[in-house]
């Protein structure tokens, strides 16, 4: 850029303003850019292992006088017992709020607040997360607290009660948001009885005891079951010594994750409706998708960008929103899962009377991308987007370290990003059609609608057509959120 800019400075001297204006390209396609090379940092260069087996990705970063640590722990709510659904999520929260032998939860809160620091923990479906953030001058103290929380949480009874009260109150709002209802019920329909879609109820929350939480912690929290990402204002060797010291008492041991049943991949074609007295239909149209380790993922990402993932640049958004004015939100998505097949779906929220019409447009785009080769311009736009935006992933030091630790956690090769751009470049229009045919199956679509059923069923004058043209309609009754019945 610098060479070009020097020319720019000369041209833009006040005296030459008029001349400069005359030089403005008539169309942005006439602009030319200096080449830009970017080689991503390599994960292996930042990786090290502490003596107790804890894997660490670490980098010095002097942008700000701060230190950040993000940990991934191999656990998840996927392993909850059937009668104690919610155990992992509760453990993830109360291990922090409940304090340790050294410091009660309240004392911990106070001290961190006074330092303007934070320690957070949480557990999701297939991983646990813990993080700390502090000014670098407070590194020793906050790191000590962080290690203590990871190693010695006591799950104080009073904080368990506080958590349970809030969790039960939150259950009552489970059916308030139309979109949350749609996402949940769509997954429930596909995954059936699989633990991925088990839902907490008042009874399962109340059944969880302090001993359960202590046992949970003992089962999954071990140094060799954790990967750390560390970045900030420190000297590398000093920081490594601090980490060694902070976790010195923690011995590695064998952690075995319980076996989780496979997902029975069986699509559920048909129209499924959930009654809600609102003025739009919230719609998902889709079926099972892919695991994030699927080797076709690059071709799939390019294909879905063109279909409905690339916002306004994609076909579905362009047609349903921009052309027809039918919706604010519309597109298509591969929601990939790590250990299991994910979902693929088109989505739209549109006023009740245009629900059928909007769905029919989305289905047409599904058919089209399977049948017609995509245009060269579409390929160029999609690939350029992935290639040119690639460096964004490495824009903060802690973000980069965290990206690397996630790679390792999810079992990807550490050189994944070294070959990323080549793999995008290699995708051909033939690949796009092949994966469209393989992963989009119009005859297997589950069409799910949350909205005012009667109003959605009819079209209107301008948009004729009714929902039963799409298949037999089944109404799903929402369970009571407190009892799950």
């Amino acid at each position: 850029m610098k060479r070009l800019l020097i020319a720019g400075i000369c041209a833009a001297g006040a005296l030459f303003a008029a001349m400069a204006a005359a030089q403005i390209a008539e169309h942005p396609s006439q602009l030319s850019y200096r080449p830009l090379a970017f080689t991503p940092p390599k994960a292996k260069d930042y990786r090290t292992v502490l003596s107790n087996g804890m894997v660490v990705y670490l980098v010095e970063d002097y942008t700000l006088p701060t230190v950040d640590i993000q940990a991934i722990i191999s656990t998840g709510s996927l392993y909850d017992p059937r009668d104690k659904i919610g155990l992992a999520r509760m453990a993830g929260e109360v291990m922090r709020t409940g304090g340790t032998h050294k410091m009660s939860g309240d004392e911990l809160d106070e001290r961190l607040a006074f330092l303007g620091a934070s320690i957070r923990t949480s557990i999701g479906n297939t991983s646990g997360n813990a993080s700390m953030s502090a000014l670098s001058r407070d590194t020793d103290e906050v790191l000590g607290l962080f290690a203590d929380v990871l190693m010695h949480p006591i799950f104080a009874e009073e904080k368990i009660k506080l958590y349970k009260d809030e969790a039960i109150e939150a259950l009552k709002s489970k059916n308030d948001q139309p979109r949350a209802v749609l996402e949940r019920e769509f997954r429930k329909l596909l995954y059936g009885a699989h633990p991925l879609v088990w839902a907490e109820t008042k009874a399962t929350i109340e059944a969880i005891t302090r001993q359960d939480l202590l046992d949970f912690h003992r089962t999954y929290f071990a140094p060799n079951n954790i990967i750390l990402a560390v970045a900030g204002d420190f000297q590398r060797q000093e920081m490594l010594a601090k980490l060694e010291k902070a976790f010195a008492d923690w011995q590695p041991r064998t952690v075995t994750l319980p076996r989780v049943p496979e997902v029975a991949v069986k699509n559920r074609p048909g129209v499924f409706m959930i009654q809600k007295q609102i003025n739009q239909g919230y719609v998902n149209v889709g079926h099972f998708g892919i695991k994030d380790t699927n080797p076709d993922i690059f071709a799939i990402n390019v294909m879905n960008f063109i279909l409905g993932g690339g916002s306004f640049t994609s076909r579905i958004t362009s047609k349903v929103r921009s052309d027809e004015g039918l919706a604010y939100n519309t597109g298509s998505r591969f929601a990939n899962e790590h250990l299991f097949p994910g979902t693929f779906y088109g989505y739209v929220q549109t006023k009740s009377q245009t629900v059928y019409y909007a769905i029919s447009l989305i289905l047409k785009e599904f058919e089209r991308i399977r049948r017609e080769p995509v245009k060269e311009e579409e390929m160029v736009t999609a690939k350029n987007y992935f290639l040119d935006s690639f460096p964004d992933r490495f824009s903060t030091a802690i973000g980069t370290m965290s990206t690397f630790s996630s790679l390792e956690y999810n079992g990807f090769p550490l050189d994944y990003y070294d070959t990323y751009c080549d793999k995008i470049r290699a995708v051909t229009p033939q690949d796009v059609m092949r994966v469209a045919k393989k992963y989009i199956r119009p005859e297997q679509m589950t069409i799910m609608i949350v909205g005012d059923i009667e109003a959605c069923k009819k079209g209107d004058e301008k948009h004729p057509g009714t929902l039963d043209q799409l298949g037999p309609i089944t109404e799903i009754k929402l369970p009571d959120p407190l009892t799950g019945k």
Binding site: M1, I9, F114, K172
Partner: protein
């Protein structure tokens, strides 16, 4: 420089990646040292911060316009206008401008007839309306041959644009893209073009998109209640309507309204352009002179005239929705820039978080709420400060009980000086969050741009200093002055037993 080659030297070399500058200490973190500013002759302000971690540049442009600049009849126009800015210009989004323009003129005149017949008359002629609508439909179908769909968006995307978006608030509208550092010129080209030559094609279909966006908001639990509560709180100020606007106004807005609105507010002397990332500031200035420099200065837009009058009596709003029960207590406070403004920031610090007074008292100690919070302060033309809480309804607690408990905490602010420890804690947190806010290039661009259109970007740091000077006495005085019964509006929301039908749009 992007030295990302890792050699056999291994880790020593990696320092280069993220360590562009020597270690800083918080007291040395001075915005003044990092921000470079430049003002064009037409009044456009350029703000720049160098960050060389990756070869990317966050490019934002902000205009001082939002729903407070609207009036009854055109509510929602600021946001609708933001949508229209993606519909192209005389060059972008169109293959044959003259032909497209001729069609648009025909479509606009037909819609003028339709709107008059529909909205001006009590008993408009439906058959005429139908006939005109059929004509506009066929003209709009014909127009598609000249339209390059979403051209601006696609141009950004295929050049690696991320964070591509725009947003409209009550006071400020922003347009965002992050580009590879060799392509900032593209942003200058496109943004100066849409500042110079906006063209509002596809106006009528986009209006329907905006109305769908309003429906989406309406379907968010408790939306109608919040909208009414806000409208009740503000007696005169244009803060009383939502940014999305009233649906009746959206229906009746005209193309001419849009053109006039654009001319008034989308002038370089009402805007700031921000570049944060891998830039050479001199190069940015040269490009800005070249591209934005060609946009003529406009008349300075008049600030909002209406100030909120003093409220002389308590107002209360009751409602029900398929949403968690809650209480909201809103007070009028002074606009930003008033010396009391930082005191409200300190009060928020005292109230919020798990060590804040509200959580401690209402959630932990009394056990009547699942959460409680306080927030607000001065805005550009007025101010609002609110306390909120959600009762633990499963245990039989009510919004009214939470309301009383909130008043007890408000009274405590008036009568009991806060301890030195509590005050210091709040100030420490403010200082750290100021430092943390400098991390993300996107967030930094946003804070700088928005602040610039308010009290100026330098005020971000000055405000922190003013906050550090707030005393226990200030807090008592401010609480006594503003948190009074006559100055408040209280909203009580109950959970609806049954789902209720929202108003249907025609």
């Amino acid at each position: 420089m992007h030295k990302s080659i890792v050699t056999a030297m291994g880790l020593a070399c990696l320092l280069v990646l993220f360590a562009a500058q020597p270690a800083l200490r918080s007291q040395e973190l001075n915005l003044e040292d990092q921000v470079i500013e430049h003002t064009l002759a037409n009044g456009l302000k350029i703000l720049m911060v160098e960050r060389h971690e990756v070869p990317r540049v966050v490019c934002h442009i902000y205009y001082r316009v939002g729903s407070v600049n609207e009036r009854p009849g055109i509510t929602g126009i600021s946001h609708f206008h933001e949508h229209m800015m993606f519909k192209g210009t005389r060059t972008i989004g169109v293959t044959d401008f003259a032909a497209d323009d001729a069609l648009n003129r025909q479509i606009d005149s037909l819609y003028q007839l339709i709107y008059r017949e529909k909205y001006w008359k009590r008993d408009g002629d439906l058959s005429k309306i139908k006939q005109w609508e059929a004509q506009t439909d066929s003209l709009m179908r014909y127009e598609k041959r000249y339209i390059i769909k979403d051209d601006l968006w696609e141009t950004y995307m295929k050049n690696g644009g991320t964070g591509l978006n725009a947003s409209t608030g009550q006071e400020i509208t922003g347009y965002y893209v992050t580009l590879p550092s060799n392509k900032v010129e593209l942003q200058m080209w496109l943004e100066s073009d849409r500042m110079l030559h906006p063209y509002f094609r596809e106006f009528y279909s986009e209006k329907e998109v905006v109305r769908e966006e309003r429906r989406l908001s309406e379907n968010s639990p408790g939306y109608f209640f919040r909208e009414q509560l806000n409208a009740t709180f503000w007696a005169a100020s244009p803060y009383s309507w939502s940014v999305i606007g009233w649906d009746a106004d959206l229906q009746k807005l005209t193309k001419q309204d849009m053109i006039e609105y654009n001319r008034r507010y989308y002038v370089p002397n009402n805007a700031v352009a921000v570049y944060v990332g891998d830039i050479n500031p001199q190069g940015i200035i040269a490009l800005a002179e070249k591209y934005f420099g060609r946009v003529p200065r406009g008349p300075d837009p008049e600030p909002v005239r209406t100030t909120e009058p003093k409220q002389y009596c308590e107002k209360r709003v009751y409602g029900q929705a398929e949403a968690p029960p809650s209480v909201t207590i809103m007070y009028h406070v002074p606009p930003a820039g008033h010396p009391d403004d930082e005191v409200f920031r300190v009060i928020s610090g005292l109230m919020n978080g798990t060590t804040g007074r509200l959580y401690k008292k209402l959630v932990k100690e009394k056990g009547i709420a699942v959460d409680a919070s306080a927030s607000g302060g001065g805005m550009m033309y007025a101010g609002e400060y609110s306390f909120r809480g959600r009762p633990k309804s499963e245990a039989g607690h009510t919004p009214e009980e939470v309301e009383q408990a909130l008043y007890e905490e408000i009274e405590r602010l008036k009568t009991e000086p806060v301890s030195d420890y509590e005050l210091q804690k709040v100030k420490n947190q403010a200082e750290v969050s100021f430092i943390q806010s400098l991390r993300s290039t996107y967030g930094l661009a946003s804070r700088l741009g928005r602040a610039e259109l308010g009290l100026g970007w330098r005020d971000l740091q000055k405000s922190l200093e003013r906050m550090k000077a707030v005393t226990a006495e200030d807090i008592m005085r401010v609480a006594k002055t503003y948190f009074t019964k006559d100055n408040r509006t209280v909203g009580i929301l109950y959970r609806a037993a049954q789902t209720r039908r929202g108003p249907r749009s025609s």
